[in-house]
């Protein structure tokens, strides 16, 4: 640019001041289209962590670790799925765990018989994160122990040996359909038959089997102390009078 033109340009700047904003002084507007990294980056959803499922009767309590965004903010909720442990087919989950669960646990009631695993998926409004890996397997209403228990010592020999309401050995014969809660003092007899129970959770449901007759009773056990698990709750001699 020539000297003369630069001078003109300077004069032009002054002229523009007058034209654009005679009161406030030089007023100019610019538009700067951003490119590259200029802008805002949306984050991604955190993934879910494998849940823990605990059986209590026909109910299953599922709990899982909270999921957080980078920076520490927790997601607003989770969706929980129940999956057939054998086939991998998703099942319709009970109302108390359906939809978006805004806490990190829920209890599904009246879970159908079968072996199940649960998953959790973090959600944030319309966003959803990667589904968690499946948690432990729980079994309800099927042969063997539930709550992820190994079936060690869970069978009751035919002819008795299970506790009675008074603490003695009950007879498996009686009126069909009756359910009896035995005295707590009788329960160690069952625990003794079961031996040490490798419980994955503080409380689990132990089902008792009788050879040739399948499940003949259930017991809720818990209170792990010193590596041993004691019988804690009542014993139900399902389907048989005592």
């Amino acid at each position: 640019m020539s000297l003369a033109r630069r001078r003109c340009a300077k004069l032009g700047l002054v002229a523009s001041v007058v034209v654009a904003a005679p009161v406030t002084g030089a007023l100019a507007a610019w538009t700067s289209p951003g490119g590259g990294g200029a802008g805002a980056a949306a984050t991604v959803m955190p993934g879910g962590s494998a849940p823990t499922a605990s059986v209590y009767g026909t109910n299953v309590t599922i709990s899982w670790p909270a999921a957080s965004f980078q920076g520490g903010a927790s997601v607003v909720g989770y969706t929980v799925r129940r999956i057939d442990a054998g086939t991998g087919a998703p099942a319709t989950i009970g109302a108390s765990c359906s939809g978006v669960v805004t806490s990190t646990s829920c209890t599904e009631q009246n879970v159908p018989a079968g072996s199940w695993v649960y998953t959790d998926t973090p959600v944030q409004q319309s966003w959803s994160g990667p589904q968690s890996p499946p948690g432990n397997t729980v079994s309800l209403g099927v042969n063997g122990a539930s709550g992820g228990l190994a079936a060690t010592g869970s069978s009751v020999p035919a002819g008795g040996g299970a506790p009675s309401p008074s603490g003695g050995a009950p007879s498996p014969s009686g009126d069909a359909g009756a359910t009896t809660t035995v005295e707590r003092s009788a329960l160690p007899q069952v625990a003794g038959r079961s031996g040490r129970l490798p419980l994955p959770t503080p409380i689990a449901l132990l089902q008792l089997r009788e050879r040739g007759r399948g499940t003949v009773g259930k017991v809720v056990v818990g209170e792990r102390r010193g590596g041993r698990t004691s019988v804690r709750d009542g014993f139900r001699w399902g389907g048989r009078g005592v």
Partner: protein, 144 residues
């Protein structure tokens, strides 16, 4: 002379489409000029800034870097941000950037930071996960 004056007047009154355009990566801005630079080109101030960590319903502060390449101080009176479309299935309207309005003095050949709120709307669809929303900044300033 008349042509230069007209160009400057248009710059002052327009939305910038007939004035100078700046391109940059948010950190290093350079003018994109398809003709010989004029005083009008050199009169621009530069705006850049980026922010991350947004999720539906979250608000973050966007720190804008306002650079004044002039040999005199300026007062920036407004900055607005338009949001481009980041990707298919995720519209730019899912993000809201607050406008700046005030009197931000920027010394000659210096940068000043100003923060504005950026919000990703709660209704932002799942397709917006991990998306980069491009920004285009507009501003107005006067000589201090």
């Amino acid at each position: 002379m008349a042509a230069v004056g007209a160009a400057l007047a248009a710059l002052a009154l327009s939305d910038g489409s007939s004035g100078q355009a700046l391109r940059g990566d948010g950190a290093s801005w350079r003018p994109v000029v398809h003709r010989r630079p004029t005083d009008a080109d050199r009169s621009a101030f530069r705006i850049g800034g980026k922010v991350g960590g947004l999720y539906p319903g979250a608000t973050r502060q966007l720190s804008l870097d306002v650079y004044n390449p002039q040999r005199f101080a300026i007062v920036v009176t407004s900055i607005t941000t338009s949001v481009g479309r980041p990707r298919a299935g995720c519209a730019g309207s899912n993000m809201t950037v607050a406008a700046f309005s005030g009197a931000l003095r920027v010394p000659s050949h210096s940068s000043v930071h100003v923060s504005v709120a950026v919000t990703l709307e709660r209704a932002a669809p799942n397709a917006c996960q991990g998306a980069l929303f491009p920004f285009a900044y507009s501003g107005q300033a006067r000589r201090a």
